[in-house]
């Protein structure tokens, strides 16, 4: 709680810097517009101003500051413009409309969640296999760790196009990329978790004559839960990135990634920024949901603080 004031102060400073940054970034367009409207600006002529620095132009033309925060296609939109666009495209549009961010967000979210479920499920199964089979551990584990250093995202376009050519379209290709990205963090974290009970605890279960299955259900699985949740938080964020990048190569018709791409094609900067904030909110909500589930689960298990 004692961090509230500092955090608010930092956010306020960031907003102030953002508004100030709009001045030099957008002043060239603002001056051109003003000159067309017949207002005297310093210096005259767009060609004259082209090579001047934004800061200098902003200082010599304080009368045009207001316009730098209110353009249609600014280089850097002001915070209130982004918020207005976010409000306009979420609350004011019907959710089925193609201009609604809720619609695009849902497309991305469904791919993310499907991929996350597939990736997590397969990751847990593989981790269980790894802790129970030495051969599997020694063959697969080094590759699982090495694959985390590889930019897996690079194969996203290929997966989309190849699946497209075999006739698989829509949700599934994106979900596969998401699954792939969330798969390895879960494997690595889960293996660590299933191995986390110490030798004394395993010995105790052996004195009870517990079978492998019982050891797994009563000791390994509960012990792995904190590790699983830590990987899930990494995994869901990776899944979202995967789904967004998966929307880029198909020419991007629907989804938050498509909003980013079409925005960059047509110079709709406000649209890009609002899509960016929508992804940020989505990521934050997803991570917060998992963190909440983690707190509740650990509390029920007596591990919470």
């Amino acid at each position: 709680m004692r961090s509230v004031v500092p955090v608010l102060a930092v956010v306020a400073v960031i907003l102030a810097i953002w508004y100030l940054a709009c001045l030099p970034m957008n002043i060239h367009t603002a001056l051109t517009n003003a000159e067309r409207a017949g207002v005297a600006v310093q210096p005259e002529g767009a060609a004259e101003r082209r090579d001047r620095s934004g800061i200098g132009l902003a200082l010599t033309n304080p009368g045009q500051w207001a316009d730098t925060w209110a353009q249609d296609k600014p280089r850097l939109p002001a915070p209130h413009q982004v918020l207005a666009e976010l409000w306009d495209t979420t609350a004011m549009k019907k959710v089925t409309s193609k201009r609604s961010l809720v619609f695009h967000g849902w497309i991305t979210l469904s791919a993310t969640l499907l991929g996350f479920a597939i990736g997590t499920g397969m990751g847990i199964v593989l981790a269980i296999g790894i802790v129970h089979s030495r051969a599997m551990d020694m063959s697969v584990m080094p590759w699982a760790i090495a694959s985390q250093t590889i930019p897996i995202l690079a194969i996203a376009p290929m997966i989309i196009v190849v699946l497209n050519s075999v006739g698989v379209q829509g949700l599934l290709p994106k979900a596969i990329i998401s699954a792939y990205l969330s798969f390895f963090p879960v494997v690595v974290g889960m293996v660590k978790g299933l191995r986390s009970p110490d030798a004394m605890q395993f010995d105790l279960l052996r004195t009870y004559n517990a079978s492998r299955g019982q050891t797994f259900a009563k000791l390994r699985l509960p012990a792995s839960v904190p590790y699983l949740f830590a990987s899930l938080k990494v995994g869901i964020a990776a899944s979202l990135v995967g789904a967004i990048v998966g929307e880029l190569p198909t020419g991007a018709v629907r989804g938050l990634g498509a909003r980013l791409l079409t925005g960059s094609y047509y110079g709709q900067t406000i649209q890009i920024w609002s899509a960016l904030f929508a992804t940020a909110v989505l990521a934050a909500v997803l991570v917060a949901l998992i963190a909440g589930a983690e707190r509740m689960t650990l509390k029920r298990m007596g591990l919470g603080r």
Partner: protein, 281 residues
């Protein structure tokens, strides 16, 4: 059909060999630990080759490893140019700038408890966001060449680095700091001789995470616009031409670059933080 069958037989034989090796008396020797994953990887590769040939999988779906290797060997100059454009110019320069900026920021906010309490939650929040999304904006600002890719990488690595360095600087105990005080050490002496070395495991954790992020950022940023050279550019255009052998060759380059980059950082870590328990053998 015989090719597919021999693939399955090969799989069974290699698996049997690996089970024998893993449960045998030599399982704990370094040679076996290296041999088992290598056998596994080679088996997968040969099975891929045999199955693709056996089932006549078309090139546009999955090229055989031999074709990818041939393409790789033929297009070395192109791949090298792409590597220089994306990795050396885009990823490495952005990585250096981003990590240096995070380092300076961490030192600056270190003296103020207020700033640290304010920036840390914001920093960890931003570090969890899909920052690749800033790529279209930065490409718009800095143009299509490597500068915009470096900018994306800077933004991507800055926050994970900042959070890690700041956490690392908190790592010393009160007792250790008091000890520095009894020696009349100045702030900078305390920082240089005690707190920075103690922060190094955290710093390298951040550097390792960022090394992967840097390459991802540089490649994905090229999907939003690039000159006609670069790994991301080559991947997206080759996919469009259905030249999948080229795409795979590019992925091999990315995999090698990524793991060598990570390996170099890990080596430097072993050399710098030799005192840390995780480095003892």
């Amino acid at each position: 059909m015989t090719l597919v069958l021999s693939a399955l037989i090969l799989w069974a034989a290699a698996w049997w060999l690996n089970v024998r090796l893993a449960n045998g008396p030599t399982a704990h020797t370094p040679a076996t630990k290296l041999l088992v994953p290598v056998i596994f990887g080679l088996t997968l590769l040969i099975m891929w080759e045999l199955i693709v040939r056996g089932l006549n999988v078309p090139l546009v779906i999955l090229p055989a490893p031999s074709l990818i290797a041939a393409r790789f060997a033929q297009s070395l100059p192109i791949l090298w140019a792409d590597f220089v454009q994306t990795f050396v110019k885009g990823a490495l320069s952005g990585y250096a700038i981003g990590c240096a900026a995070a380092f300076v920021t961490a030192i600056l906010i270190d003296r103020s408890d207020f700033l640290r309490r304010g920036l840390m939650p914001v920093g960890s929040f931003v570090a969890a966001l899909p920052i690749v999304g800033t790529a279209p904006i930065l490409v718009m600002w800095y143009g299509f060449d490597w500068q915009s890719k470096a900018a994306v990488v800077v933004v991507m690595v800055f926050f994970p680095m900042l959070v890690n360095i700041t956490a690392g600087l908190q790592e010393t105990t009160q007792m250790q700091r008091d000890q520095m005080q009894t020696w009349a050490a100045t702030y900078w002496q305390g920082l240089w001789k005690l707190r920075l070395p103690a922060a190094m495991p955290f710093v390298f954790n951040g550097l390792k995470i960022s090394s992967t992020l840097a390459l991802i950022g540089a490649i994905v940023a090229e999907f939003f616009g690039s000159p006609i050279v670069g790994m991301g550019f080559r991947i997206s255009t080759s996919v469009g031409q259905l030249a999948l052998d080229m795409v795979w060759a590019e992925i091999v380059v990315a995999a090698i670059a990524g793991s060598v980059f990570y390996g170099v950082v890990a080596l430097i870590e072993r050399w710098v933080t030799f005192w840390h328990p995780s480095q003892r053998r």
